[in-house]
Amino acid sequence: MSKQRVVVVGNGMVGHKFIDNLLQDTKADEFEIITFSEEPRLAYDRVQLSSYFTGATAADLALTDEGYYNDNGVNFVLNDKVTELNTSDNYVVTASGRKESYDKLVLATGSFPFVPPIPGNDQEHCLVYRTIEDLEAINASASQSKVGVVVGGGLLGLEAANALKAAGLETHVVEFAPRLMAVQLDEGGGNLLRRKIEDLGVNVHTEKATTEIVAGETCRYRMNFADGSHLETDMILFSAGIRPQDELARQFDLEIGERGGIVVNDFCQTNVDNVYAIGECALWGGRIFGLVAPGYTMAKVAVSHITGGEEKFLGADMSTKLKLLGVDVASIGDAHGNTPGAQSYTYNDEIEQVYKRLIVSEDGKKVLGAVLVGDVDAYGNLLQMMLNDMDLPENPAGLILPNTGGEEAMGLGVDALPETAQICSCYDVTKGDIMAAVANGCTDMAAIKGETKASTGCGGCAALTKQVLDAELANLGYEVKNDICEHFAYSRKELADIIRVKKIKTFDELLDSHGKGLGCDVCKPAVGSILASYWNDYVLEEEHMGLQDTNDIFLGNMQKDGTYSIVPRVAGGEITPDKLIVLGEVAKEFNLYTKVTGGQRIDLFGAQLHELPIIWKKLVDAGFETGHAYGKSVRTVKSCVGSTWCRYGVNDSVGFAINIEDRYKGLRSPHKLKFAVSGCTRECAEAQCKDVGVIATENGWNLYVCGNGGMRPRHADLFATDLDDDTLIKYVDRFLMFYIRTADRLQRTSVWLENLEGGLDYLKEVIIDDKLGLGAELEAEMAANIGNYQCEWKTTVESSEKLKRFQHFINSDDTDSNLAYVVEREQRRPATKEERIQSVELVD
C-alpha cells in the first residue's frame, strides 16, 4: 500500500506539534509528510519570543531542527508561502510555483498581528511583534530611537513594552479601552496593574484612539488622538490583537466564521473532506484560541482522527498566570463575572499593591472565576476548584485573604482534593497518580516513592503524599496503621510514652523489648529524637550515634555533594562586630560559601568532613555555640530590633528573643521548631508564621502558636494575650513538651494542631487550664532537658575519640577526590554534572 500524503501548511508551534505527534504514532510509517513555511526557519517557541531580547538566540528558541525532520523523512520547504488550494483535485500551489498533491491537508497557519487602519501606519518605524524577523526589526529600530510607543495594552502589548523599556527607551502604552488587559482583568485589577506598571516607569495612556501618525517635532513621529491630544515618538509597535490567518480558506471556499477563523468541528475537520485546521487559525464553537496549549490539543486531535482515532477537541480553559514587567497577574475563568447572578468577593490592599477578586456562582457554592494582581499564590487552588467544580468552603473570602492561599484555607482534607491536584511539583505527581499507585499495591511511602517518584525531589510534599496515601488506604478499606515502621508496632506517640514511662535510655533497649529486626532510617532517628527530648544525652554517645540522621551524625547539614554547612547560633539575630569578623575570617580561611539564612544567622557552606572539627574549634574558642541547624530541634528565635532602637517598639524584643533562644536551644523535637519575637504589633519579625510567636503589647506579650512558613504556610493562632515573661515561659514549656509527647514523627506544630482532637480550644485547656493535670510534669521535663544542655560541638572538639570519625577515610588522610567547584558571583559552588563533563575551569 502506498503511503498517504499529509501536507501541513504552516510550520509554527502547532504545525510542528502535529508533525511530531504523527511521527510518534504507531501508524507513523503509513504517512508521508510535507510541510511549508512562509518563515525562513522551522518552528520555534513563539511563547518565549521575548527572551530573544534578553539573549536567547534563534537556535535557543528552535523547537526542532532540519536534522530531525530529515532523519524522520519529513519533507519541508521554507520561505515558500502556500498561495493556492484546490480541494476538488486535492493539491496546493506555492508562491514559487511548486505544486503538491495531498491525501490529507492540515492548515496550521496561525494568526497575524492586527494593525489598526490608521493613516501613516505603514512607515518605516511602525512595527509588529510576532516573528523573529519582527524582533530583529524592533532591535534595529530601537537602536535609532529614544522614545517608543506600544499600541495596545493587552498581554502581548505589555510584553512588547517590557522589551522597549529594556532597550532603554522612554516607553508608552496607548490603549483604546479604559484599562489594561481588558480581556483578562476587571476594573480593579486593571487599575492596580496600571499603577504598578507606571511605578516601573512605563507611561500608560488609556481611552486613546489614534487618528493619524504624522511627522513629529521633537521625535520622528507624532500620534494624534481623537480627543485632541498627541504623543511624540520615534517608533511604534502595534499590538492591537491578532487575527486568524485564514486567507487561503477564504479564497478557496472553506467555511469561515463571521469575524474570521476557519470553522472546524470537534475533530478539527473543516467543512471540506480531508482538510483540517488547527491552532490559532481554527474557529471552534465560535471561538479562536490564542494560546498554545489549546493548539497543541487540536494537533493531537487531528492526528488521532487521521490515524483512525476518536479523540475530540472540546474547548479549552483560557485561564492564565504570568509575569508582566515583573508584575504577577492571573486571570481565571469568568473574570468579569458575566455569568448571570454571579457574585464576588474583593480584596484590595493599596499599601501592598495586591488586588484579588473571586467570582462565585449565584448560590455562592462554586468558583466561576478570579482576577489576581500582585499576589497570585491562590491561582493553583482556585483553578483546581473551578476546573473540578468543587464546592467552596464555608468562608470563601478566606481563599483570597492574605496568607490563606494554602490548602487549610479551603477547609478541606485531602479527600476533597480532586484527582488532578498536583501533590509533588518536582515530579508533577497528581493525587490521581498516587491513588493509582495505591490501587496497584503500593501501601507504604517507600513503595509510593518508588512507583511515582512523589516526594523524592525536595521532599517538601512528603507529609501531603502520606496523607493522600493514608486516605486512599482507608477508602480502600485497609486498616491504616500508624506504626512508625516495620520494626515497631507503635506510633511515634506510643513510643514516646513507652520511653518516658519505662525510662528507656537506648535504642537497643527499646528494640529488644518492643521491636524486631535491626531498625531503619525511619525509626532510628525518631527514637533518637525522643531519647534526646527526654534525657538529652550527648547525641554522639556510642549507643546513640547510629540513630542519628544524615545531618545529626556529623552535626552539620549535608549538602548535595556530601560536604556540610556550618551554622553557629546567633541568638535573637544579635551579633557583635567582632564575632562577625570571626565568621568572616573562618569563611575566608576555608573558602566557605557564605549566605545569610532566613533565621537571621550566617550559613557557611562547603566544609569537608575533616574540616568540621577544625572550623568548630575556632568558632567555639571565639565563643560560638552550635546552632543545631542540622537537628529536628529548636532552630532560631528571630527578632526585630524592638524598643531599644525602634521608634515604635513597646518592649525589648531582642532581649526576650535571646532569653528564650537560650532557654530552648537545641531541644530535640518531632520536627524543627522556629520562634520569633516582635517588639510591637507592626510585627517585623513575622512571628505569626512561626511555631511559637511572641508579639509585644502595651501590657506584656501576646503568644501565638502553631504557625508555619515553608511549603504549607499557616497563620499562627493567638493563644494568650498580655502575658508577663514568666507566664509566657511557663506556657511555652508546657506547649513544647506536650507537642513532643503527642506529635507524629516529622509533624510540624501546624499539622499537629490541625489533627489534634478538640483543636485550639483543647490545647488551651491543657496548657492554660491544666485540664489533664500534666502542667507540673511537663515543666519538670523541660527543666530536666534544659539542665542537661551541652553544646554538642564543644563536647565533640574536646573528645579525641569522637574526632576520629571526622575524616573521609579511616585509613588515609586523603580527601574526597570527587568534589569539584566553580566560582559564581565571587564565591564557589558545586560544579554541575555538565560542568564536570565539559571540565570548565574548576577550583578547589
Partner: protein, 109 residues
Amino acid sequence: MSNWITVCSENDLTPSTGICALHEGEQVAIFFCGKNKEVYAVSNFDPIGEANVLSRGIMGSIGEDVVVASPLYKQHFNLKTGECLEEPEHTLKTYPIRLEGGEVQLQAA
C-alpha cells in the same frame, strides 16, 4: 590464593554505623552490625545522589535484608548484594570483607 588487606582495626568500627576506607584507589563504605556482628562492604558512591556519602547513611533492615539508607535522598541499598530497593537499575559494587584477628580486611583484586 587471595590476599587480604587490612584497612583498619575492629576498634575503629562503631556498631550500626559506617566508615569509609580507601582500598586500591576506590572508596569503600564499611558497615558493622552490632547485633549479628557481621561486616559489609559496598561502594561509597551513591549513584543516585552522585556523591561519596553512603558510609554516612543509617544502617538498618527491611524485611530480611540488611540495608543502608542514602543520607542524601534516602533510597535503600542491600548491603549484601548492593541492589537498590527503590530503583533496582542501580546496584552498588560489593567487596569481600572479613574480620581477622581484630582487624578489618578487604580482599585484594
